[in-house]
C-alpha cells in the first residue's frame, strides 16, 4: 500500500473551510436582506414602471449640462451605486455633475407589447423633456450602459437636437461582430416563438445565459473564495451586494426582446443604418454631437468588437474611443473605474458641458 502523506496545511485549509461553511449563516447577513445603493436620490418622474431618479448634489457648484444615465434592460440600476467606494454616481456627483438615472423598473405581463419605440421615443424622450424643463436647458448629456447604451444611441440618432454629448459605455451595436456566448445563443434563437408563447423574456433565461459565461470561475470558484474570506467584512459585503444585484434581474418586455434579438443580433440592422423605430429611420450618421465610446477589453457580455464600430459609424468629428483593461462590470463598479474611467469621463464631459 503506497503511503499518502498530505501536507498538514491542506488538512488545516480543509478544516478551516468546513468551519467557515458551518458558521457562515451566523456570520453573514441573509443575501436578500442586503441593502443596495447608498447615494440619496428623489424619484422625480414616473411613467408606467419606469422611474427617473435625481441624485442629490454633493458639490455647491454644478456643471451646467445635466447628465442622464440610461441603464440597461438587464439587471437593475443599483450597480451604478452599489458601494460608496465604487459608486459611479457618487463619483460623478463629487465631480460636480447633476446626475439623473433611469430605472426601467420590473415589467409585468401587461408590458409585453413595449418595444424600442416606447423605450426610446416615449420613456427616454419624456425623461429628457423633464430634465430639460427642470434644469432650464435645451439639451442633456446622455450616458448609456450595455443595452442602455444601445437605447441611448438610438435615441441620440433620432433626436440629435436634444443631446449635447453621448457617452456609450459597452453598448451593443454590431451584433454580427459580437463574439460572446450570449450572441452565439441569440443567433439561432426563435424569439418569435418565445414571445408569442411566454410573453416577456423570463429572468430564468437570463440567469442561464449568465451561468454559461464563466461556469467554473463564476459558478464554483467564486463561492469557494467567499467561504474562505468569510471573516473579511469588506469582501463579504461586496460579494453579497453583487450577488444580490445579479439575482435581481427583471424580465425583458417581449416586444423589446424580439426586436433586440432579431434586429440587433440576427439581422444586425443598427450598424447597417437599416433600423426603424416607430417608423423613423435610425441612422448613426445623425450622431453629430461629441461621442465618447467606452469599451472594456475583457468584456465577456458585450465583446469589444461589438461596441467599437459605433466610434467609426458616427458623423461627429469630436469623438473618442477608449479601451480599458477591465471587464463589463469592472468598467463601472471597481476601484479601477474610480481611478481611471471616471476621471477621464469627467474631464471629457466638463470640457463639453
Amino acid at each position: 500500500m503506497p503511503e499518502n502523506k498530505f501536507d498538514p496545511k491542506i488538512i488545516g485549509e480543509f478544516l478551516n473551510f468546513s468551519r467557515n461553511f458551518t458558521e457562515a449563516p451566523m456570520k453573514v447577513s441573509v443575501p436578500h436582506e442586503v441593502k443596495l445603493g447608498s447615494t440619496q436620490f428623489d424619484v422625480v418622474y414616473k411613467e408606467d414602471k419606469m422611474r427617473l431618479l435625481h441624485f442629490k448634489p454633493l458639490t455647491s457648484k454644478q456643471v451646467r449640462t445635466p447628465l442622464l444615465i440610461s441603464y440597461a434592460v438587464v439587471n437593475r440600476y443599483h450597480i451604478f451605486d452599489i458601494d460608496p467606494k465604487k459608486s459611479w454616481v457618487k463619483n460623478l456627483l463629487e465631480q460636480g455633475f447633476d446626475v439623473y438615472l433611469i430605472d426601467w423598473g420590473t415589467p409585468s405581463k401587461i408590458d409585453k407589447f413595449l418595444g424600442f419605440d416606447e423605450y426610446v421615443n416615449r420613456y427616454l424622450d419624456n425623461c429628457v423633456d423633464f430634465v430639460c424643463d427642470e434644469t432650464n436647458v435645451d439639451k442633456v448629456s446622455i450616458q448609456g450602459y450595455c443595452t442602455g447604451g444601445t437605447l441611448a444611441t438610438v435615441y441620440s440618432a433620432l433626436h440629435p437636437e436634444r443631446v449635447k454629448n453621448l457617452i456609450a459605455t459597452a453598448p451593443v451595436i454590431d451584433g454580427w461582430k459580437d463574439t460572446t456566448v450570449v450572441s452565439n445563443i441569440a443567433k439561432y434563437f426563435d424569439a418569435d416563438k418565445l414571445v408569442d408563447t411566454v410573453g416577456n423574456m423570463p429572468p430564468e433565461f437570463i440567469y442561464y445565459c449568465f451561468s454559461i459565461l464563466k461556469p467554473f470561475e463564476q459558478g464554483v470558484e467564486k463561492y469557494i473564495k467567499f467561504l474562505n474570506n468569510i471573516d473579511n467584512e469588506k469582501y463579504v459585503d461586496s460579494f453579497l451586494k453583487i450577488e444580490k444585484w445579479l439575482d435581481e434581474t427583471p424580465p425583458i418586455p417581449g416586444e423589446l426582446f424580439r426586436q433586440w434579438i432579431k434586429g440587433i443580433y440576427q439581422d444586425n440592422l443598427l450598424i447597417q443604418n437599416k433600423m426603424y423605430v416607430g417608423n423613423k429611420h435610425v441612422s448613426l450618421k445623425n450622431l453629430n454631437m461629441p461621442v465618447f465610446t467606452q469599451v472594456a477589453v475583457g468584456d465577456h457580455l458585450v465583446s469589444p468588437e461589438c461596441s467599437m464600430p459605433l466610434h467609426y459609424a458616427v458623423s461627429s468629428t469630436d469623438k473618442i474611443l477608449k479601451l480599458y483593461p477591465t471587464g463589463h462590470v469592472g468598467m463601472i463598479a471597481s476601484s479601477f473605474s474610480q481611478k481611471t474611467v471616471l476621471p477621464e469621463l469627467g474631464q471629457w464631459l466638463k470640457e463639453r458641458s
Binding site: 499518502n4 502523506k5 498530505f6 501536507d7 496545511k9 491542506i10 485549509e13 408606467d48 405581463k109 401587461i110 409585453k112 407589447f113 413595449l114 416606447e118 416615449r122 424622450d125 423633456d129 463574439t179 456566448v181 452565439n184 445563443i185 443567433k187 439561432y188 434563437f189 426563435d190 416563438k193 418565445l194 408563447t197 411566454v198 410573453g199 454559461i212 464563466k214 461556469p215 467554473f216 470561475e217 464554483v220 470558484e221
Partner: protein, 183 residues
C-alpha cells in the same frame, strides 16, 4: 424511426377514437341531465385529449434534444478532464501544488466549456431544445384555455387582447399629450 412513428400514430388514433366515442356516448345523457357546464366538460375532454396526444411527439423530440444537451456537456467534461490529466498526472499533496492544480483545472475546464458554448452545434441544439419546450408550453396553454373557458373565465388569448388594447390606448394618449405639449 418508422416503428416509433407507427406507435405514436397508433396511440394517437386510439386515444382520439375513444375520446370521440365517449363524447358521443355521453352527449345524450348529459344533454338531458345537464345545463351548460357539464355538457362542456365532455366536449372539452376531446380537446384536452387531442392536445395531450399531439404533445407526445414533442415530448420525444424534447427528450432527444435534452439527451444531446447532456451528452455535449458530458463529452466536454471528459475531454477537459483528460487534458488536465495529461498536464498533471497526479494530484499534488502540498498546498502550493494543490493551488496550482486547481488553477490549471479551472482554466482548462473554462476553456473547454466556453469552446462548447461558443460552438454552432451547442447553440443549434440548445435552441431546438428551448423551441420544443415552448411547443409543449403552447399545448399546456391550450389546455388551460379550455379549462378557463369552461369555468367561464377569460382565456389567455382574450387577456392578451385586453393588454394589447391597453397598450394601443396608452400609446395614443402619449402621442396626444406629446402633440399637445408641442402645440
Amino acid at each position: 424511426m418508422e416503428n416509433e412513428s407507427n406507435a405514436t400514430d397508433y396511440y394517437k388514433k386510439t386515444a382520439m377514437f375513444w375520446s370521440d366515442m365517449i363524447t358521443m356516448m355521453s352527449s345524450k345523457p348529459t344533454t338531458l341531465s345537464a345545463v351548460g357546464p357539464l355538457r362542456n366538460l365532455s366536449t372539452n375532454l376531446k380537446k384536452i385529449t387531442s392536445e395531450l396526444t399531439e404533445s407526445n411527439k414533442e415530448i420525444v423530440e424534447f427528450n432527444n434534444f435534452l439527451i444531446e444537451y447532456y451528452k455535449q456537456l458530458a463529452d466536454t467534461w471528459t475531454g477537459a478532464q483528460k487534458e488536465v490529466s495529461s498536464k498533471i498526472s497526479k494530484v499534488p499533496q502540498n498546498e502550493e501544488g494543490l493551488e496550482a492544480y486547481k488553477r490549471v483545472w479551472i482554466d482548462i475546464f473554462e476553456n473547454n466549456f466556453t469552446g462548447l458554448f461558443d460552438s454552432k452545434k451547442f447553440s443549434e441544439n440548445y435552441n431546438k431544445l428551448v423551441s420544443t419546450e415552448l411547443d409543449l408550453l403552447k399545448r399546456w396553454n391550450a389546455i388551460t384555455d379550455v379549462m378557463l373557458k369552461s369555468a367561464n373565465l377569460p382565456t389567455k388569448q382574450e387577456i392578451e387582447e385586453i393588454y394589447e388594447e391597453l397598450h394601443t390606448l396608452k400609446s395614443r394618449i402619449s402621442k396626444l399629450e406629446s402633440s399637445k405639449k408641442k402645440a
